[in-house]
Symmetry: C2
DNA sequence: CCTTTCAGTTAGTTA
DNA sequence: TAACTAAGTGAAAGG
């Protein structure tokens, strides 16, 4: 990370300005704490009188100005805005973050800076809302309306022949049979074809109409076309929703975690 | 502010732990940057694998974990949660932030810390979404439904005798006369009495029923009782809404501001 | 690019 | 405290 940090009793404003400009240019994460006033004008308008706050400007041009308390920043700017940094009267450092569409502007004027730092965060980590495929299935079995309102469970049988996919059988509100293919990750062409195999097999056995539903967090590009061609539906299932359904059961684990 | 800052190539974890604990105890704002993994379990569940991030813990126990990009923190904890800081295996520093109701837990484990700082922010500044009382009146004149649906303007006259308050005359959907008292700040007893004077005066002049509405961002405590006793209504008017109504007109000024 | 919907929404107000 | 609503909502998905 090799952070650049300015921390002095009275750091030179010019040094701070240079550090800020460099951070912006190199898309580092910038953190500045000091005494400032803040004006916003755009979708609304606000003014924050003098006080000590923490300014964070992130690599994508998001701006967050935090007071000492509260989850939310008191003032902010969403990603992709542009900056103008300048020194006024030799003793004020102003940062103006502007955005077009909607047209809005945030102006932060420091009359004193305590700490300024620029961080080149090396972060390739993966973020995942995690439930296992088995947990997703459990959630759907527990709460079939996750997939579709009025859906009624027919069979909890998992295996219809092979592996890699989880499936559930149900009946929809019109009395049609429904095969639900569950994937915990973005579903691809393979998932659609697998679903097709299940449906085709089932159609040979029964004379009732059979629907197919692919339940997954999302579809990989192109999959929706195949799915439509085969005549099946897609239902987005979020891991969070599944987790919430399962939550009562995981409370024991949560206690342990705490 | 007199910030305490730890910034070294490889700072001692014990020093960091002490700084964090002190910041938490004294309700300072804490900022820690370093390489970490993050696990969350509560309303949902998530895992973030190793990478460099910025952790901010605010005076009220809000937790924000920011990656290099994005307005929103990747993981967080709302205000009023509790902390446990510990060193594991002598080379991992873990911060666990837990909350009851809903029961949830955030666990951040650093294997390397680049910078840690504790800030005692001195911030008595006032935050205001600002429109003037005149602007509020303009907004209501432009868009009477801000006060009540179906309201129709009768008079743009401002003065009915004295000062300090802005008033507007209208007719409601039932054909009753309406006097609207506008205050840009939280309305007090005085505002209610002022409204009463206007209504009483008007009732002497006309034989139709006359309503009174106090339009302000909010009511000071006790004022709602008085208002109810007098038989008048309160309508909360947010500065933001007014601003949005007026916005088309302020675009010129906004351009100038940018 | 615009619209709609969702969020571990958060925050504020009221009953 | 719970329920309801608004937000400079932000972010993602779909048209």
């Amino acid at each position: 990370m090799s952070p650049k940090v300015i921390s002095a009793v009275s750091p030179q404003l010019t040094d701070c300005r240079d550090l800020i400009n460099e951070a912006l240019a190199k898309q580092k994460v910038l953190i500045v704490t000091g005494n400032c006033t803040v004006d916003y004008e755009g979708r609304a308008a606000s003014r924050l009188t003098s006080g000590e706050r923490v300014l964070m400007i992130k690599a994508d041009g998001s701006v967050l100005l935090h007071r000492r308390s509260g989850y939310e920043p008191v003032n902010w700017q969403p990603p992709r805005c542009q900056f103008r940094v300048s020194i006024e009267d030799g003793k004020l450092l102003s940062v103006v973050a502007t955005r077009q569409k909607p047209k809005e502007s945030l102006r932060i004027v420091f009359d004193n800076i305590a700490v300024a730092m620029a961080l080149a965060l090396d972060d390739e980590g993966e973020f995942a809302m995690h439930v296992t495929e088995e947990q997703m299935k459990q959630a759907i079995l527990l709460e079939p309306s996750l997939v579709e309102p009025g859906l009624k469970l027919i069979s909890e049988e998992t295996k219809m022949g092979d592996s890699g996919f989880t499936d559930v059988y149900a009946e929809d509100s019109s009395g049609r049979l429904v095969v639900i293919e569950i994937k915990r990750t973005p579903a691809s062409r393979d998932a659609a074809l697998q679903l097709n195999r299940y449906v085709v097999t089932l159609r040979k056995r029964v004379s009732r109409p059979v629907r197919g539903i692919l339940a997954a967090p999302e579809l990989r590009s192109g999959t929706s076309v195949i799915l439509a061609k085969l005549g099946y539906d897609f239902k987005a299932i979020s891991p969070e929703k599944c987790f919430q359904v399962l939550k009562p059961r995981t409370d024991a684990r949560l206690s342990e975690f705490l």
